[in-house]
Amino acid sequence: MTGLPAGLDRGRALHLLGEMLRIRQFEARCAESYSAGSIRGFMHLYDGEEAIAVGIMQVLGPQDAVVSTYREHGHAIARGIRMGPLMAELYGKRTGCSGGRGGSMHIFDARTRFYGGNAIVGGGIPLAVGLALAEKMQRRPGVVACFFGEGATAEGEFHESLNLAALWRLPVLFLCENNLYAMGTALARSEAQIDIHLKAATYGLRSVAVDGMDVFAVEQAAAAAAEHARSGGGPAFLELRTYRFRAHSMFDAQLYRDKAEIEEWQKKGPLITLTTQLKAAGLMTEDDYQRLVREADAEVAEAVAFAEASEWEPVEDLLRHVYAEARPS
């Protein structure tokens, strides 16, 4: 952490912490609902990486698009997808933001231009390049924020896509959440070059490494990257260095890393650090903090109630949405 920005406004500080808390509390409740059997399938929680989602989303507007991965609850919440439909999606209910058809790994939302929820590692990256191509060809000002993990940088689609985006100078923000483990494989066990941003730089695009535990550092880097892309400078790459506090998915016994390592990272987690800093700077009291937690908990509880009260899609609808229902006349 580099410390708080000079002249930080109290309201803004509490907003950023509040957004991160909303994600943390949502994920905690997801884990409970998973244990209770209300959520099934694969579920990947975001604890530890909240500063990235929140920092990035501060610089995006409604004209911009987001392409995400299977660890996308945090991105979805920070992007403004309401928690009720989000939780209902995890429950598989028809009121879910993807109509219940996707589940935890496939969050989609047209209103916020949230294009998944893509669960093939690296598979969303070409999609983001195409969305950016559409922005450019239609002379629209949008940029496309494309999230993926450091594991994806071993995939061919990553390299093909960076080359194409740089070649055509497309407005993509390549956002690599480097949490050091591709499922259970440590970075140094899978990559010859572990400075991920250096790999990206070889494609001739703007590329920097950022402390992904510092929401202000993320926001600042994202603002510069978005400005670069928006002004026709082409794609930008951010390697956001972070750590996942929980298991890869709910099936992961974490045999590949030490508890001590996790505890070390938790001490420098994005929430605890920001909380400590804001209190030390006199920008937040313990009462303020407790109020933020209560508000987040209340929102999550309401979302769970919504999801639980929602109906299942009738089995008669099974074959819907294989093809578009609105046909040209």
Binding site: A65, V67, G96, C97, S98, G99, G100, R101, G102, H106, F108, D109, A110, Y115, G116, G117, N118, I120, G123, I125, P126, L127, A128, V129, G130, L131, A132, L133, A134, E135, M137, Q138, G156, E157, E160, S161, N163, L164, L167, R320, H321, V322, Y323, A324, E325, A326, R327, P328
Partner: protein, 333 residues
């Protein structure tokens, strides 16, 4: 004679090019991208001249990165454009299979119908040009297996000219397979203003004694076989499937109910392919209408060899089709 009824004689290649040109002229959202579609003119010369007419913004040469440019076509379609993505051959499309199968085919469903993928992906398929085992296969049935995709194979000049427009109007991803051996074929374009539909089969030749069910380049092998059979007193009906997904069961069954015999001719391999699918659909709903077991003429189970005599021996041909039909009538030659 009015202008629209004029019959013009053109090649299959020219028919495809005319369709692309018309689409580019009539809709600013349409663009063409793929390997060597611009300055080279297309590996099969389909897009030759289009770069000069439409410029680099709309005729986009891509790097050799099938996954990225097919995925970019999918993304551009979701972002409001109407891309025509050209892949050199179906063999190369396997490098983009992730984007086609895992993304294009699933987004509508995974998003609960919020997003569609109105992309058109064209590629060459099939053998006959001595291009050996990595440029000659007929893998379209692999894609026809996948819900969420539409798969068409234009075999005639009219379909080569007519299928692109409805494909671009489709809110779903459409894969168009162009048999490479047909690009030089000349034929009559009967009416350029007619839009071919994307979901029905077509009776190519009327007959009463046996139904030959086929698609793509094998249509013309069946046509030759039918002439030879007619000389021997057997009138074969030929059905051009045109669309492999959806499959037009009704046209197939109506024909088989009349002829009571079916031979499926498929340039794909016999095992686990289109011919098996078509045969089973006949069995499921038309078993008691059959007077003979269904027969199949497919490519031999071998990666396609380079030498002409071996390639020819591997592929379906008129002699094998005639023999299969005669076998049904109990007089194998």
């Amino acid at each position: 004679m009015n202008a629209e009824a004029v019959v013009t004689r053109i090649t299959y290649r020219e028919a495809v090019k005319q369709a692309i040109r018309e689409a580019l002229r009539s809709d600013p959202r349409v663009f063409l991208m793929g390997e060597d579609v611009g300055h080279y003119g297309g590996c099969f010369a389909v897009s030759k001249g289009l770069l000069a007419e439409f410029g680099e913004e709309r005729i986009r040469d891509t790097p050799l990165s099938e996954s990225a440019f097919v995925g970019a076509g999918i993304g551009a379609a979701m972002g409001g454009m109407r891309p025509i993505v050209e892949i050199m051959t179906v063999n190369f499309s396997l490098l983009a299979a992730d984007q086609i199968v895992n993304t294009a085919a699933t987004v509508c469903h995974m998003s609960g119908g919020q997003f569609g993928v109105p992309v058109v992906i064209r590629m060459a398929t099939g053998a006959g040009r001595q291009l050996a085992a990595q440029h000659s296969h007929s893998l379209e049935s692999w894609y026809a297996h996948v819900p969420g995709l539409r798969v068409v194979v234009p075999a005639t000049i009219d379909d080569a000219r007519g299928m692109l427009k409805p494909a671009l109007a489709s809110p779903d991803p459409v894969l168009i397979f162009e048999p490479a051996s047909l690009y030089n074929m000349e034929g009559d374009l009967t009416d350029a203003s007619v839009n071919a539909d994307l979901s029905t089969a077509r009776v190519h030749r009327r007959g009463t004694d046996v139904t030959l069910i086929t698609y793509g380049a094998s249509l013309w092998r069946c046509a030759t076989a039918a002439e030879q059979l007619a000389a021997a007193g057997i009138e074969a009906e030929i059905i051009d499937l045109r669309s492999l997904r959806p499959l037009d069961d009704e046209t197939i069954l109506q024909s088989v109910r009349r002829t009571r015999r079916a031979v499926i001719v498929d340039e794909g391999w016999r095992s686990v392919g289109m011919s098996a699918e078509v045969a089973m659909r006949i069995v499921e709903r038309g078993f008691y209408d059959l007077d003979a077991p269904i027969a199949r003429v497919c490519t031999e189970e071998v990666p396609l060899p380079y030498p002409k005599h071996l390639e020819d021996a591997a592929l379906p041909n008129a002699a094998r089709i005639v023999a299969a039909v005669q076998g049904m009538f109990g007089h194998a030659n």
